[in-house]
């Protein structure tokens, strides 16, 4: 349990709850109750039932034959793209909506970038008949129109964040402001392993189903539950944390986290946080973030809206700093090319986020026969416009 959160809410030097007093009662209520609620047998039963019948879990662990031939290793894809709503995000929203109900909350708020977390939140709110307000940057609302429409169909109110850069970071600020102004009846479903403690831990626990299943499936398929490598993309880092979770304490398993280099790490248009960032505080926790020397948060860039975030979760910062995880980056172009390659080799159109993880396979060297698991965190339907433009389809 070397890499898990300690009783003060820290992962090594990172984590904590850097929040204004107005948020303290909300966050403290969560902190005192989240483990108790999650560990409760009835909660577990309902959570797993919904994951099975509603989300469609377990998601397959698929041995990708043509990829394996290409790279000379056994490449397994963990198919989170096959989940209801098209990505891993729903694992967390199912967990948090059940938790919000146990806390007696009547109203749900969330932030969203590309809209995947917004859709996953609006979906569970429809399912459980709870009021839902989604904050989304004005810029993202324009470039992700289909997801905005989905959220509206699901009954959510989509509120444009018009401050700052009008993207994910600002949507998160607006959601926090909403929570400050509605301290009693509202639960804030944060979509990634970021935010004040206990959010990073709570979201990681809900997403850890990914590695829990992977271990079991890998064992059934290969006779060993220990892969040589696991790979996942990192924006805030929720699918990666879910993919790493049950492998973290086994140092034989190499953890590779793929960040978005955007137009190149030195181009000024990048989201490669561990490369460009420094330690600091963002959105309630101490972590690594992209910032000016004066401590102002820098706008990131990535072709993939889900990786377009200036920080990473505190647990990732800890894995990075201790060297337990290897943090690498992939450019916009490399990810789009990898998306097309995956489509043509395996018949799967991946989300551009997930394509970042796939793209790193091209840069790895295998001895032969290693078992490699890549988290295919989402499907690429939402990214068709970007693929069409890039490849002139």
């Amino acid at each position: 349990m070397k890499y898990k959160v300690n009783e003060k809410g820290y992962y090594g030097d990172f984590g904590g709850a850097y929040i204004p007093e107005m948020l303290y009662p909300n966050v403290e209520e969560l902190r005192q109750n989240y483990l108790k609620i999650i560990d409760d047998a009835d909660f577990q039963k309902e959570f797993h039932q919904l994951l099975k019948d509603y989300v469609g879990r377990p998601s397959p662990l698929y041995l990708a034959k043509r990829y394996s031939e290409r790279y000379g290793a056994n490449i397994f894809l963990k198919r989170e793209d096959l989940n209801h709503t098209g990505a891993h995000k729903i694992n967390n929203t199912i967990g948090q909506i059940l938790l919000a109900e146990k806390l007696g909350k009547k109203r749900i708020i969330a932030e969203t970038g590309a809209g995947q977390h917004g859709v996953a939140t609006a979906t569970v709110c429809a399912l459980r008949n709870l009021e839902c307000v989604i904050y989304m940057g004005e810029v993202d609302i324009e470039r992700q129109a289909p997801n905005v429409a989905r959220m509206k169909m699901l009954g959510a109110k989509v509120v444009p964040a018009s401050s700052g850069s009008k993207t994910l970071k600002d949507a998160t600020n607006e959601a926090m402001r909403d929570w400050i102004n509605n301290p009693v009846d509202t639960h804030y479903i944060i979509g990634s392993v970021v935010g004040p403690h206990p959010y990073p831990d709570m979201v990681a626990i809900f997403q850890s189903i990914i590695s829990e299943e992977t271990k079991k499936q890998l064992s059934e398929q290969t006779g060993s539950d220990q892969p040589d490598y696991v790979l996942a993309c990192v924006g805030g880092g929720s699918n990666a944390m879910g993919m790493f979770y049950h492998f973290m304490d086994n140092e034989n398993v190499k953890l590779i986290a793929v960040e978005a280099a955007g137009k190149g790490v030195s181009s000024g248009f990048s989201a490669a946080t561990t490369y460009l960032g420094k330690e600091g505080v963002l959105h309630g926790s101490r972590s690594i973030l992209m910032q000016t020397p004066d401590g102002q948060v820098v706008e990131p860039h990535s072709v993939s809206a889900g990786l377009d975030y200036p920080g990473i979760g505190p647990q990732h910062a800890h894995l990075f700093k201790t060297g337990r995880g290897q943090y690498v980056s992939i450019t916009d172009e490399e990810s789009l090319d990898a998306g097309l390659l995956c489509t043509q080799l395996e018949g799967i159109i991946p989300a551009i986020e997930s394509a970042h993880a796939l793209a790193y396979l091209e840069k790895m060297e295998f001895k032969g026969g290693e078992n490699v698991v890549v988290c295919l965190s989402g499907r690429g339907d939402k990214d068709l416009d970007t693929y069409i433009k890039y490849f002139n389809l």
Binding site: Y18, M22, R177, G295, V297
Partner: protein, 255 residues
Amino acid sequence: MNRIKQLFQEKKNILSIYYTAGYPNTGDTLQIAEALEKSGADMLEIGFPYSDPVADGPVIQASSKQSLDQGMTLKLLFEQLKDLRKKVSIPVLLMGYVNPVLQFGVEKFCEACAEVGVDGCIVPDLPMVEYEEFYKDCFEKHHLSNVFLITPQTAEERIHKIDGLTNGFIYLLSSSATTGKNLEVGDTTEAYFSRIKNLNLKNPTMIGFGISDKQTFDKACSYANGAIIGTAFVKAIADGNLKESVSTFTKKFKA
């Protein structure tokens, strides 16, 4: 004696004004401080801007953005305040978010505050436990008061803990809200203010958030040692005609 302590010993109905450093123009910071003191403000809170001010509403957020876009930094602020104590004698606090302080360096920040004659700080997203463990010694070494916020939802036990940890005043939020909401003093707010008053805290209290006119100011003063005005002032000086707007604004409250 510490300027903050002295103020609270000598005065009631204290008028404290918040404004964003480097707004409306980068060079305005010290000039506004002087004008505020001249026109009757009792205490100042100078905000050092941050890109992601989650506890603030749209007005202060926009002023922060404008200030940053015009080139404001914490380093520049300390340069601007070099002659603060030649021109201003009332207590001055710096208010802002923790990340710029971390990047500047906590020790260096405290030193710089002491050097220019800043009396205290308000850092809303610096948690009490972190302050106690990592910042308190440094703040105290440089005779800086660290002011904490409490809201209607803050539990009594926590209020006493805050009271024990601070040595300037306690910032009483009129409601759980971001800055710039109007204060509506209904029965629940009055009950909350009375409750705090009856706790007999060792520190004086100042009520903030939602104070915008003489009426809300007086109301707040009946429950606390004074009140803090931010958003309404930032709005009032937006046009840049500082000479007139600052004194017109302050005088409304001192009538």
